[in-house]
């Protein structure tokens, strides 16, 4: 189960925003749908009139009655209603599909512009639910709700109009029962929706328990906790049982309840209408029509009240989605930079924003940073790097190494101080320019589903197949790929589960270098892989780093040793800086770190013999 933490505020009054957002572009579709719905309602209301006339005709004329007329009339009504049903399902379907598509597209694209702070504070599961289930729900409620309301309400009105015209006294009696019916239907609908929501929540709780129990089954076994676990689980299943029964019984009581109200209308029609028929003031046909109409109130009633309840309960979804769409990115190109981009586009400059293409120097100047204001991570950090140099960042976990790299990539921006590229604050350059000059290798390599080839190509979308092979060869992964069943066309499963960590690392190396980035950022894996792959990785690393400005969060000795500059970080501060030999000679912090790592690696070697 994914956590649901989030920092996105729900937006009040979101329905109106949503309505304007979806209604304007789809005006025509909405209007056609409404028109067809109203047309359908009119025909629905006319059917019973045919029955009425037929009955009256038979009572009055017996064998002489002309049934053919009614057959034709009925057929015409039937064909028009069936074709309008066919048409409105398609219309509403098209509307819901379009809305779903657009809302999803907008929210996905919006997410692409948001900064890392946002993703730190909003769980993947939470965001995923907004983009997938919320948008679906909203689109369905809007499209099918429009249909049902524009069909149901005119239908109900139509029935009442006909009833009042046929016999106003009888009509008023049926009309009088209507508010009760509406209240009962609304009451049930809201409760059923809430109870379904509770049920879903408990159900996901059960899923979470299963999930955890399966991962922790060995722990439970050795602690002999099986019986206790089952007892606890039984609490959940008991709750699920209770809620489920509640939901089922509520649903099953709903229909009979409404039905009794409807039967009151039918009964009243039979009683009062029957008296009139006996007195000769009402035809039998009208009586039949009355009873049929009273009964046919039921469907539109149920649909309308159901949709109203759903609309009300979808408000939270709408507020969340609109809230999400209104979040502003903290890191974006400034107005100035946007202007540069426009100019560069017109003048056909070499770079996206018209600035320098080459990166000659990178400098951190008095940089302060903290993810939270009260917890500083970096304090007055200074570092200058020349093009082509390899910088190894070393230090304990939590010392701020990853933060330095994240700032360099402009995933976050310094709270104080500046990061300069060629002497210019990098906030003066476009984000896209900087990031397209970056190559990155994460500690836990992330691969996308797709083929090995498409994953390498991710680093350079224009790369030819030959270039992909060349990149793979450069990092020593070509042979490994060729040994896979389908070579470069091997499908990578979700999370890359069908590859070993070492293989994933090598592929992500190839991906990083194929775009020939000017800056390479790498977070070296801490845990060693098998000796064979480890060896390959070390070799490849040299190729990867060569001639490129590189920032490596380094753990392995060979990587650290080969760096041009080693930077030792402790609690967000730079404590030592220099080459391997210089720092060793100092016998300071680096000396200790190095000795410890040396011991670890020799030990690893012995342990994995």
């Amino acid at each position: 189960m994914t956590t649901q933490y989030n920092s996105t505020p729900a937006r009040k009054g979101a329905w109106k925003t949503l309505f304007l957002m979806v209604y304007r572009p789809q005006k025509k579709l909405f209007h056609t749908l409404m028109a067809v719905a109203i047309f359908t309602a009119t025909i629905d209301a006319s059917f019973t009139l045919v029955t009425k006339s037929l009955v009256d005709d038979i009572v009055a004329n017996g064998v002489e009655a002309n049934l053919l007329k009614y057959a034709v009339l009925f057929t015409v009504l039937m064909l028009s209603i069936v074709s309008s049903i066919w048409y409105f399902i398609r219309l509403a379907g098209r509307l819901s599909t379009t809305l779903m598509y657009t809302l999803r597209k907008q929210s996905f694209e919006h997410l692409q512009s948001l900064s890392f702070t946002f993703f730190d504070n909003n769980a993947v599961g939470w965001l995923l639910a907004r983009i997938t289930s919320d948008t679906t729900r909203i689109a369905n409620v809007v499209a099918w709700g429009t249909l049902d309301l524009f069909w149901g309400i005119p239908f109900i009105l139509g029935i009442f109009t006909v009833l009042l015209i046929l016999d106003w006294q009888l009509g008023l009696v049926v009309l009088g029962l209507f508010p009760f019916l509406a209240a009962v239907a609304m009451w049930f609908n809201i409760r059923i929706l809430d109870s379904s929501r509770n049920l879903r929540r408990t159900n996901s709780r059960i899923t979470a328990v299963y999930n955890e129990s399966i991962s922790g089954v060995q722990t439970s076994k050795v602690l002999v906790r099986e019986d206790e676990n089952l007892k606890e689980f039984q609490n959940d299943t008991r709750k699920m049982y209770r809620l489920s029964m509640h939901n089922l019984l509520l649903t099953s009581a709903f229909y009979p309840f409404v039905n009794v109200f409807v039967s009151m209308a039918v009964g009243a029609a039979l009683w009062l209408g029957g008296v009139d028929v006996l007195a000769g003031t009402l035809t039998l046909g009208t009586l039949v029509a009355f009873m049929t109409y009273a009964r046919s109130l039921m469907d539109p009633m149920l649909e309308v009240s159901g949709k109203l309840a759903e609309l009300q309960r979808t408000t939270a979804c709408v507020e969340r989605v609109i809230g999400l769409l209104e979040v502003q990115p903290d890191i974006a190109d400034s107005e100035q930079v946007k202007k540069h981009i426009e100019q560069a586009l017109q003048s056909g400059a070499e770079t996206l924003d018209g600035g320098d293409a080459r990166i000659d120097t990178i400098e951190f100047r008095h940089v302060d940073f903290g993810y939270k204001a009260e917890e500083p991570v970096l304090k007055n950090f200074n570092l200058a790097v020349k093009a082509g140099a390899t910088v190894a960042l070393v230090g304990a976990t939590g010392s701020g190494k990853s933060t330095i790299v994240s700032l360099l990539c402009r995933f976050y921006e310094p709270t104080q101080g500046q990061i300069l590229i060629n002497g210019e604050d990098y906030r003066g350059r476009s984000l896209a320019w900087l990031q397209s000059n970056l190559g990155i290798v994460l500690q836990t390599p992330f691969l996308f589903t797709g083929t090995v080839r498409s994953n390498i190509r991710y680093g350079n979308l224009d790369a030819t197949d030959d270039e992909i092979v060349a990149a793979a060869k450069a990092v020593n992964v070509h042979d490994i790929i060729m040994q896979m069943e389908r070579g470069y066309d091997t499908e990578i499963q979700e999370g890359g589960n069908n590859l070993s960590t070492g293989q994933k690392q090598l592929i992500s190396f190839a991906r990083a270098i194929i775009g020939n980035p000017q800056i390479l950022v790498m977070d070296e894996a801490t845990s060693s892989v098998d000796t064979q792959t480890e060896h390959l990785l070390q070799q490849s690393l040299q190729t990867v780093l060569q001639g490129r400005t590189s920032f490596v969060i380094a753990h392995r000795l060979s990587t650290i040793r080969s760096a041009d500059t080693i930077v030792v970080i402790d609690q967000g501060e730079l404590v030592e800086q220099g080459s391997h030999d210089e720092l060793l000679a100092k016998k300071g912090r680096y000396f200790d770190l190095y000795r410890k790592q040396f011991q670890t690696e020799t030990e690893e070697e012995l342990l994995s013999q």
């Binding site: 229909y255 397209s436 991710y458």
Partner: protein, 609 residues
């Protein structure tokens, strides 16, 4: 293989348990159907025998009822009787329908609840070999979404289908009793409607699946984009991602719309058939009524019967063809239930309460697969209260030793004895209660620290908890959290570092106060100072508790009474630290690295310099 019979075994068992509920619900729905049938019939009686001239009289049962009310004239004067009768009959039909739902829901929901609990208990008894091989994601899927499919099938589809079938069985004969020819006319298209629905939903199954798959693919794109956001940004691939998502989104939308189009064809066609059936009744019945072959009342009643039957039957066709999904789900659940549980012999005896903690291994060999032995002819004795350290390279069989001792796997060769009792003859759970063990991967449950620590001994007092946490050197860490021992950890709460997790799991094990304590490389993420503190605390019980520590730290080995060296599944050396450090071999090398590393390190320095 007789697979289908096999598939339904659990279901048949569970249904048999609740057979009275199912029978009761069939009786209830039969009564309800009869009342439903009565509603239009009352209308018919009133029309034929009270309000139209000439009144029909036939000295039958109905006439007698009318006579009992004081004759047709008196009834005509008190027509409200008929109105009330309609309301009461509807209410009774509703009441019995509710009773049926209550009985059926109780039966279905308890069936599901029992099945859930049985699965849960079964998961805890599965053999280690099966659990290791099984994909845990798939297991969870089967326990949750397949269970949901089954639940939905039982509570919605089976209940509905049963209702429709019973309704048909009751109402159709009653219709024939009234008028054979009208019945034939009213039911003419019913088989076609049913077949059409059944065939249609059978045929678009593939499309439904395609839509599901497209939705899954689209969700994967979003999920990967969100989890791999660093890679996306690092390569500045936002546009590419948007394009990729757009393709997924579009494909899903297209298929979704295609499905709606297919459904619109279905609804329109089946509506046409259903309305046509109503039309046939109207015109055909009108023809018969105009000729006096049937009464006006019968005509009226059959219009009602047709409506009552035709819509549920259309539904029945759809439900029947969708039942296949549930069959698949049942099969997948049954497969888990059929997986082997840890065998438990009837003659197993409990580990005696005064178990002293002595262990004897004699020529024990064991392999996870036939080709390779994980343990090869291992023999040793551990006296009660001894402290043993086990060292050796990765994969040398250290952990296997513990797994056998805990009876997670059963040895096939040789003999293991606890205080003189053959291990295989001892009850698994009593063995596990007698040995406190910490597995390599610390696993904590997402609940409070208190609940986690007391997980192994839920009746422990808070004093015992604090004491064990002190011994595990985690008490002060816990006290530093805002909610102290009530701090919730895991996905919904605070996340602990590797070392903290290890210490909490240690506290959880220590609280059990077992005669044997086994630590499987459990303190690897704990710094050496804390480790010393923990070992010191553990040694307070020295002599009273057998302690087995798998480690690669010489400092830990030094304090042990004896050290076992494992290599390639064999016990290659044993003795005290002083003895082993003299012998050339694995232990000596390890000792050299960790204590005499100065020489090697210095020589390495010389090389680099």
């Amino acid at each position: 293989m007789n697979k289908s019979q096999h598939h339904h075994r659990i279901l048949v068992d569970l249904i048999r348990n609740k057979k009275w509920y199912y029978l009761g619900s069939i009786v209830a729905v039969s009564i309800a159907s009869y009342f439903m049938f009565l509603v239009p019939t009352i209308g018919k009686i009133v029309i034929d025998r009270v309000i139209t001239e000439p009144r029909i009289t036939d000295e039958g049962f109905v006439d007698n009822v009318i006579q009992w009310f004081g004759g047709a004239d008196s009834l005509a004067a008190n027509l409200w009787f008929a109105g009330i009768a309609i309301v009461i009959t509807t209410a009774l039909a509703g009441l019995f329908m509710y009773l049926k739902d209550y009985l059926a829901a109780t039966a279905c929901e308890s069936t599901i609840r029992r099945l859930r609990e049985e699965l849960f208990a079964h998961l805890h008894r599965l053999s280690e070999a099966y659990l290791n091989k099984a994909d845990s994601g798939d297991l969870v899927q089967r326990c949750t979404s397949d269970m949901d499919t089954l639940r939905e099938f039982l509570t919605m589809q089976v209940m509905d289908m049963g209702r429709t079938v019973v309704l048909m069985c009751i109402v159709i004969p009653l219709m024939f009793m009234q008028s054979v020819i009208m019945s034939v006319i009213s039911l003419m298209l019913v088989p076609i409607v049913f077949t059409f629905a059944w065939v249609f939903f059978g045929r678009i199954k593939a499309l439904f699946q395609q839509v599901d798959e497209a939705e899954g693919a689209m969700t994967t794109i979003v999920q990967e984009n969100l989890t791999g956001i660093r890679v996306v940004r690092a390569f500045a691939r936002q546009e590419y991602e948007c394009k990729k998502f757009d393709e997924g989104n579009r494909l899903y939308s297209q298929l979704h719309y295609k499905l709606i189009q297919m459904l619109s064809n279905f609804w329109a066609t089946s509506d046409l058939l259903c309305i046509c059936q109503n039309g046939i009744v109207l015109i055909g019945g009108g023809y018969l009524a105009s000729r006096g072959i049937i009464s006006m009342g019968t005509f009226f009643a059959f219009i009602g019967y047709t409506i009552m039957l035709i819509w549920p039957i259309r539904q029945l066709g759809q439900q029947l063809s969708e039942a296949g999904k549930a069959t698949v789900a049942i099969g997948r659940i049954q497969e888990i239930l059929d997986a082997p549980e840890e065998p438990e012999s009837d003659t197993a005896i409990a580990l005696p309460a005064d178990f002293d903690g002595s262990i004897q291994f004699r020529n024990v060999s064991f392999g996870f697969d036939a080709h390779k032995l994980a343990l090869n002819n291992v023999s040793f004795d551990i006296d009660a209260g001894e402290t043993i350290a086990i060292v050796g390279p990765t994969g040398s069989g250290k952990s296997t030793l513990i797994q056998l001792l805990m009876r997670l796997y059963d040895y096939t060769e040789g003999s293991i004895k606890l205080a003189g009792h053959e291990l295989n003859g001892l009850d698994r759970r009593s063995v596990r209660s007698g040995i406190g063990s910490l597995l390599q991967e610390p696993f904590l449950f997402s609940r409070s620290l208190k609940d986690n620590i007391k997980f192994g001994r839920f009746d422990a007092t808070d004093e015992q908890m604090v004491k064990s946490s002190h011994d595990a050197a985690v008490h002060h860490t816990i006290e530093a959290f805002t909610h102290k021992y009530d701090t919730v950890i895991g996905e919904r709460g605070v996340s602990l570092s590797g070392g903290q997790k290890q210490r909490v799991t240690l506290s959880r094990t220590l609280i059990q106060e077992t005669p044997i304590l086994v630590l499987d490389d459990t303190l690897s993420a704990v710094d050496s100072k804390t480790e010393r503190q923990i070992i010191k605390a553990l040694h307070k019980k020295r002599g009273q508790q057998t302690l087995i520590i798998i480690t690669h730290r010489i400092s830990v080995c030094r304090n042990a009474d004896r050290i076992f060296v494992m290599e390639n599944g064999k016990l290659t050396a044993q003795g005290t630290h002083e003895q082993l450090q003299q012998q050339p071999g694995f232990y000596q090398q390890l000792w050299q690295i960790q204590s005499g590393q100065q020489d090697q390190f210095d020589s390495d320095l010389a090389v680099t310099a």
